[in-house]
């Protein structure tokens, strides 16, 4: 029995920390969302807070908005990231190693700017009273700064999607580029022999190879944008709010009574993301079974 246990002993420290901090926090949140909150003198367990939440239109409006924004953000980041990395791959020719590396670094640049900073930059640059608007107004291109189009805090959420697309595309590129590096340059020449052009080379050969990684990294982006707080807080509109902002407002406004409801929002967020995670995992697994064979 002893040799069997050994590997588990080795992972115990990591697993322990993970369980206590991550699972512990999750369980604590779950307990509070059920209304057990001794600091506020509440000791009962009930599903009332979930019932209350699911019957409020605030919640459903927020959920729909959150879905839409997370989906559009991850899709645009995914397409953009794929486009960039495939372009980098196509540009790569023997002898252009250095130049290629510079390009690659250039596209990774957004990774080092924190989300909060970029969200604030959006506010400073693109609001009606922002930098760009004032330059245009003083150049006389627009009559008054209020003629500048509404780009920030618009109710469609375009600014949030733009921020995420810009921030996450390099992440997706970073994830799929290593897969591309394993593809021999000669494959392209070989496909030429069979009459493939660039587009069909991409569609028939690159895409199937990239798909599993692309799906899982796009899903990571989806899960992140679905539950991240700072960007929608700065760039969203007053109503409807994205779910993390709704949860924050419930948590911070009013008495401690609204606390469990805020945590119920978080639990629902976590459940949705995990269900989608399982689905995405299955999808990418099936894809690699069907398409890749033994790659």
């Amino acid at each position: 029995m002893w040799p069997n246990i050994k590997p588990y002993i080795y992972v115990l420290p990591t697993a322990g920390v993970l369980l206590i901090l991550f699972v512990g926090g999750l369980i604590e949140g779950l307990i509070q969302s059920l209304g057990y909150f001794p600091a506020a003198g509440q000791y009962g367990f009930s599903l009332d807070y979930y019932r209350q939440l699911l019957s409020s239109s605030d919640f459903w409006d927020s959920l729909i908005l959150t879905f839409r924004i997370a989906l559009l953000s991850s899709l645009s980041a995914g397409v953009l990231g794929m486009f960039v990395s495939v372009c980098l791959f196509m540009l790569k020719r023997p002898g252009s190693g250095r130049k290629n590396q510079i390009w690659q670094r250039f596209f990774q640049l957004p990774l080092i700017v924190p989300h909060l900073v970029w969200a604030y930059l959006m506010v400073l640059l693109f609001t009606q009273s922002g930098w760009l608007s004032r330059i245009l107004a003083s150049l006389g291109w627009i009559h008054h700064i209020n003629d500048f189009p509404v780009l920030v805090n618009d109710s469609f959420g375009g600014d949030i999607i733009f921020t995420y697309a810009w921030k996450e595309a390099p992440f997706i590129a970073l994830m799929i580029y290593p897969v591309l590096l394993r593809i021999h340059g000669s494959w392209f020449e070989a496909s030429r022999v069979f009459g493939a052009n660039r587009w069909s080379f991409f569609r028939e050969i690159l895409l199937p190879l990239l798909m599993p990684t692309w799906i899982s990294s796009s899903f990571i982006v989806f899960a992140f944008t679905f539950s991240a707080f700072e960007v929608p807080f700065l760039l969203g509109v007053t109503y409807p709010r994205m779910l993390p902002v709704l949860s924050y407002n419930l948590y911070t406004s009013g008495g401690l009574e609204a606390r469990p409801e805020a945590l119920a929002v978080n639990v629902i967020l976590a459940v949705i993301v995990s269900i989608l995670g399982v689905a995405a995992y299955r999808l990418s697994q099936r894809w690699s079974m069907d398409e890749q064979g033994g790659w």
Partner: protein, 421 residues
């Protein structure tokens, strides 16, 4: 592959243990109030001073005002260190609620030696922390400067948003809601809700207010509640004794919805904070802004953020005013030093310096009539800047705050009836 049953067993055990710890660990400290340090309250002041020497006080307060931060860091801290040997460490928070949240977490975790020694609170945050036993004991009446300079019988001091303070917090500052305008653009500032409505209709897009639950935005709708429903007197009784409130408040929602189409961005969205509104004002996108600090506008002018022609005004029927307090949490590890720091901050010197815009410019919480003649002379000599209204004008246009219970009711109502509308 063989199923790693053992691993599941360990994981399951951990999860169970965490769950139980989560439930059990919390029951131990239901009383909340820590039993430690009762002697500090009984000790005479000299003993408190000597206990405090060498301790560090962590003061948690709203960090969004440069002038407040400047006063604490550059005026209070060095003097406190020099005169009493107490180190003052300012910890800025974005919202006072964060302090309460931290205390709730500490209480839940059973933390006896907390991280907060002094905090700046009032209103609903006070109500919440009092209701949940997050505050220490009745220390304020023990402070020499409170005994000497604070008018402890004044209703504006004795009650914090209608809630009796019972000495668990000491008054530190007073504030009054004022509107700010650019006198070059606005010749006749609208001094009532009705006038504001007319003005907004004539100047579409030039006015907005921060979205409640932002502190300033929330105060704005409370002030408009008084304006549109006939004064503050009907709201003096607690929320649960009030009948037919939904019907009374309808007038406020109707008013706010009536001006909405003429607001900045047609009311599709509201600035999420007062500083965002200030930024809109500074850039000329809107022509009015507001704040719960009569000297804020003057400070912004001094720092060059607001135009020089900026002035402030109050409503004909008065604007909200409140007292804010310093309090000591139940689990403060340095209670003696906290008392010394608070006592020092209530000294005439510290309070006069606080009302000087050079340092901060906030209203005093101690009674000016109790100052020595020299102190009164110093107070009158302060140049409050062109944008700040004279103390008399402020004092004559003052209405009390609403009991704290209403604040949450109104914030929720605004989201429901105005933001969603």
């Amino acid at each position: 592959m063989k199923r790693p049953k053992f691993f599941y067993l360990i994981a399951g055990f951990f999860i169970l243990a965490i769950f139980l710890a989560g439930c059990a660990g919390q029951k131990g400290n239901e009383q909340g109030k820590s039993a430690g340090h009762p002697n500090v309250l009984k000790a005479n002041w000299q003993d408190v001073l000597s206990q405090a020497k060498g301790q560090t006080v962590n003061i948690y307060l709203y960090g969004g005002s440069e002038s407040t931060n400047n006063y604490i860091d550059n005026w209070v801290a060095p003097r406190l260190k020099k005169q009493f040997g107490v180190q003052l460490n300012r910890v800025p928070v974005n919202d006072t609620k964060d302090i309460i949240n931290k205390l709730v977490s500490e209480k839940q975790a059973g933390k006896k030696d907390g991280s907060i020694d002094v905090m700046w609170i009032n209103g609903e945050n006070f109500l919440m922390s009092k209701k949940n036993n997050l505050l220490w004991d009745s220390f304020s009446p023990k402070l020499p400067n409170v005994k000497k300079y604070v008018n402890q019988n004044s209703p504006a001091i004795k009650n914090d948003f209608g809630e009796p303070t019972q000495g668990v917090e000491a008054p530190w500052s007073q504030a009054q809601f004022v509107f700010t305008y650019d006198s070059n653009k606005v010749k006749h500032p609208p001094k009532s809700a009705e006038a504001l409505k007319q003005w907004v209709k004539q100047h579409p897009g030039k006015f907005t207010y921060p979205a409640p639950p932002d502190f300033t935005g929330s105060a704005f709708i409370r002030n408009m509640l008084y304006e549109t429903t006939g004064g503050y007197k009907q709201y003096l009784k607690p929320l649960d004794k009030q009948t037919g409130l939904d019907n009374i408040v309808k007038a406020l929602w109707n008013y706010l919805n009536a001006i909405e189409p003429y607001l900045w961005r047609k009311g599709e969205t509201y600035p999420e904070s007062a500083s965002k509104l200030d930024q809109l004002y500074a850039s000329g996108a809107v022509w009015l802004t507001m704040g719960y600090d009569p000297a804020h506008a003057a400070n912004e002018v001094k720092d060059g953020r607001f135009p020089k022609s900026t002035r402030t005004f109050v409503l004909k029927d008065g604007t909200l005013s409140n007292t804010s307090y310093l309090s000591i949490p139940f689990n403060s590890p340095h209670k003696a030093a906290a008392m010394v720091a608070i006592n020092f901050m209530l000294s005439p010197k510290a309070q006069i310096a606080k009302s000087d815009p050079e340092n901060w410019g906030a209203l005093m919480a101690i009674d000016p009539n109790k100052l020595s003649s020299k102190g009164q002379k110093q107070l009158n000599a302060i140049d409050r800047g062109k944008a700040t209204l004279p103390s008399k004008v402020l004092a004559n246009h003052r209405v009390p705050e609403i009991p704290a219970g209403y604040v949450d009711y109104l914030e929720k109502g605004w989201m429901e009836h105005v933001a969603k509308h």
